[in-house]
């Protein structure tokens, strides 16, 4: 899988390139800011673009805007946005336009090689990735009384969080050391409790779950 990488901090850019190479990805190019990245993507058409959210010149959300631009022009290219902050709003903005091939991760997650390669692969294959810290913030928010989430079991909430992170039933089953069948049962029950239309597709249900969490 071919990957383009944009980060203004040389230390992290080079480190991440090394990790990606180690994990077996082909790094097609490195960029220091959003304009460089767009030119790089134009030239190399990678499968996935990994973008730091804060880049020059204003050091605010250039990466996010570059990601949106790439999605508009090359919808097939997967995008993984990296951030040093847990910012649910930015994550939701990014995923709001469709969760296919989009991811939002905290920077430090990529130090786990398995986590990194699974995330890049998922995004490259059109799936989605949402950082556990962001999901935790969405799920963990204190809500008003008689909120449907209050009625979920502990295990169901775990499954909900993993769904929101963009994981498939199989991945959830592996993570929780249960069978895929059990996960399916939990998912059905969750969708029932939250009155969401059943959605068998692993990719599309993420959007439903996230939209639900955000609306409460």
């Amino acid at each position: 899988m071919r990957v383009a990488l944009a980060d203004d901090a040389v230390l992290l850019r080079e480190g991440l390139a090394r990790l990606l190479g180690e994990a077996g990805f082909e790094v097609v190019g490195l960029a220091g800011d959003a304009d460089d990245l767009l030119a790089l993507v134009e030239r190399t058409r990678p499968d996935v673009a990994i973008v730091d959210i804060r880049m020059p010149p204003t050091h605010t959300d250039e990466g996010l805007r570059a990601a949106k631009a790439i999605r508009e022009r090359w919808p097939a290219i997967g995008i993984l946005v990296l951030s040093q902050h847990v910012n649910a709003r930015y994550a939701l903005e990014l995923l709001g336009s469709g969760t296919d091939g989009v991811g939002y991760l905290l920077k430090e997650r990529v130090s786990d090689l398995d986590e990194l390669s699974s995330s890049v692969n998922r995004v490259g294959e059109g799936g989605s990735v949402l950082d556990p810290a962001v999901v935790e913030e969405l799920v963990g928010r204190r809500r008003q009384a008689n909120n449907p989430l209050e009625h979920l079991t502990e295990r169901e909430r775990e499954v909900l969080a993993l769904m929101a992170e963009g994981r498939s039933n199989r991945a959830i089953a592996e993570r929780l050391f249960v069978t895929e069948h059990t996960v399916e049962k939990h998912v059905k029950s969750i969708f029932g409790s939250l009155r969401l239309p059943p959605s068998p597709d692993d990719h599309r249900r993420v959007l439903a779950v996230i939209a639900y969490l955000n609306s409460q």
Binding site: L11, L12, E22, T60, Q84, E108, Q144, A145
Partner: protein, 578 residues
């Protein structure tokens, strides 16, 4: 002083009596101007007003000048005498008094000729009388006016046409001179400040009419109607008015001095809180009056608005009078230079107002200190905010990145460890976990120092995020335009107030929910955090809020906490944002 004036007055009365006697006893066929009545009127006016001015303002030349003019006027009546030598003397000095009148007008109110032009005009006036003497050397009769006059003893040659021509020249030049003086006076009036006009108006008006009547007389003389009585009569009457006008101005000044008493009464009523500048300007008759107060710490004078005042020098066309109290300077009055001629009034006004000025000075000093303090607080807040942003940026660009980079290296190390390496692997994993925790703590720290969303997306987004993360369910009502960014300090003050209030509500209120509302209307940001808890929050609700109240107040805003027991806590911050 007094005996001298009495002596002068006595001589004046004698001279006047003599002049009247001469005017009343002239032969019937001689011209009758100005006649006994006008002789008394003009003379008495000059003498009386001159003596009064002399007494009231001994330092001013105008009194003596008027008295001298009165004597010259009386002396002019010697030309009515039947004896030839007296008549000749009288005819020679008949109009010298006009010089006194011109000096009076040109030098009023200071008594000194203000410039070269005025001195030159006086010189020109004197030279006219030389022409008159030349005419008398040539002509057989004074001014060729009356066939029945006594002999002109000055006559040396008998050349009547020449004498006549010289007299015509004198009249012509006299008319020109008088016109120029009228123009000078009119120009002076035109350029005068309101205070100056007020001080000189009666004298300038009477003087210009007098000079116009004089010019008229000269013109008729030139046109060959030398004995027409009307213009000369008008001239003499208005001449009598000039000293009266001078007197009027002096009396007015005395009245102004009487107003000082009114000023004292006015300033003595603290409930009315009079506008001190207004009151002083009215009493001094100078609407342009300005006040400045002495600031001992800065060693300078500062006006009511807190601005430093530069003291005028001579070229600025302004004068200053310093006010002291117990030897310490307290204020300065910046006023029209015309008031310098009435120093006594200014001094008494300053004396009467010194206590009020001292009060006003203290208040001005306090106001200046307060605004200085306010500005310094605002600067502190600004500096703190800038520092917060800098620290957050430094942590983000420095420490956080280094730690992430170390985490990456550890990840790489872990991946390169052989699978059978069971001794090292847990250690590396442990290090990564510890690092992840450190990064999380650092993230929370930087978020607390300066929430990135606030900087990047503004108050509305940051408040939304804050409410979503709040420990108690928080309902947010926003009346902010997301695209309009408020000043950084205002946004961060409002954000941290809301943050602190939400934390307090969660910790202490025992309530079930919080309502947060923010609105920006007509230059004022209003933030309200209301919980449904037990209320009874003491004071500003702890040191955290006290610090935030300081911050809000430093921006010119207000933070109020209302927390009646049992009815929840309502915290309201109002911050102006221009």
């Amino acid at each position: 002083m007094r005996p001298k004036l009495v002596t002068v007055a006595g001589f004046g009365i004698l001279a006047g009596a003599g002049a009247v006697w001469l005017a009343a006893h002239q032969p019937p066929e001689r011209p009758t101007e100005p006649g006994p009545v006008l002789t008394v009127l003009v003379g008495a006016s000059l003498l009386g007003c001159g003596l009064a001015s002399w007494r009231a303002r001994p330092e001013n030349r105008l009194g003596p000048v008027m008295v001298l003019t009165a004597f010259a006027w009386f002396a002019g009546q010697l030309s009515e005498a039947p004896e030839a030598w007296v008549y000749t003397l009288g005819a020679a000095i008949q109009y010298w008094w006009v010089l006194g009148l011109i000096y009076l007008l040109l030098s009023f109110p200071s008594g000194r000729l203000p410039g070269r032009l005025e001195r030159w005009l006086m010189g020109a006036g004197c030279s006219l009388f030389v022409i008159q003497l030349l005419a008398m050397l040539e002509g057989n009769k004074s001014g060729l006016r009356c066939p029945t006059c006594p002999s002109n003893l000055l006559q040396v040659v008998s050349d009547n046409p020449d004498a006549r021509n010289l007299l015509l020249l004198e009249r012509l030049l006299g008319g020109v001179l008088v016109t120029v003086i009228i123009v000078v006076l009119a120009r002076r009036w035109w350029r005068a400040s309101p205070a100056q006009r007020r001080a000189v108006a009666p004298v300038i008006v009477a003087g210009c009419i007098t000079l116009a009547a004089l010019a008229w007389t000269q013109a008729l003389d030139l046109l060959g109607d030398p004995l027409s009585a009307l213009p000369a009569t008008v001239w003499f009457y208005t001449t009598a008015a000039v000293p009266i006008a001078v007197m009027f101005v002096f009396v007015q000044r005395r009245l102004a001095r009487g107003m000082v008493a009114g000023l004292v009464v006015e300033l003595g009523q603290p409930s009315l809180a009079p506008d001190l500048r207004e009151a002083l300007a009215r009493t001094l008759g100078d609407p342009s009056l300005e006040l400045a107060y002495w600031f001992p710490a800065e060693q300078c004078y500062v006006d009511g608005a807190g601005q430093m005042v530069k003291l005028p020098n001579a070229r600025d066309g302004r004068s200053s009078t310093f006010v002291e109290r117990d030897g310490q300077p307290i204020a300065v009055l910046l006023h029209d230079p015309v008031l310098e001629h009435n120093g006594e009034l200014v001094r008494s006004v300053c004396a009467a107002a010194s206590l009020a000025l001292e009060n006003e000075r203290l208040q001005a000093e306090l106001r200046a200190r307060l605004s200085e303090l306010q500005a310094s607080r605002a600067r502190l807040v600004e500096a703190t905010d800038a520092e917060r942003r800098r620290i957050e940026r430094d942590l983000h660009d420095g420490t956080q990145q280094r730690l992430v980079s170390i985490a990456m290296s550890l990840g790489l190390l872990e991946s390169k460890l052989p699978d059978q390496e069971t001794a090292t692997r847990p250690l590396v994993h442990e290090a990564r976990e510890a690092l992840a925790l450190a990064l999380q703590e650092l993230r929370e720290l930087t978020h607390g120092i300066n929430p990135p969303l606030l900087t990047e997306r503004g108050l509305a987004a940051a408040l939304d995020e804050l409410c979503r993360r709040a420990a108690l369910p928080a309902h947010l009502q926003l009346n902010l335009r997301a695209e309009v960014r408020l000043p950084d300090q205002v946004e961060s003050a409002a954000y941290f107030v809301a943050s602190e209030a939400l934390t307090n509500a969660a910790k202490h209120s025992h309530g079930s929910e919080v309502r947060v509302s923010a609105s920006h209307q007509s230059g004022m940001l209003t933030l309200e955090v209301v919980d449904d808890g037990i209320g009874g929050a003491a004071g500003a609700g702890g040191s955290g809020l006290r610090g935030l109240a300081d911050r809000v107040e430093a921006l010119g805003g207000r933070l109020t906490v209302s927390s009646p027991p049992g009815r929840g806590t309502n915290l309201r911050a109002e911050i102006p944002c221009a």
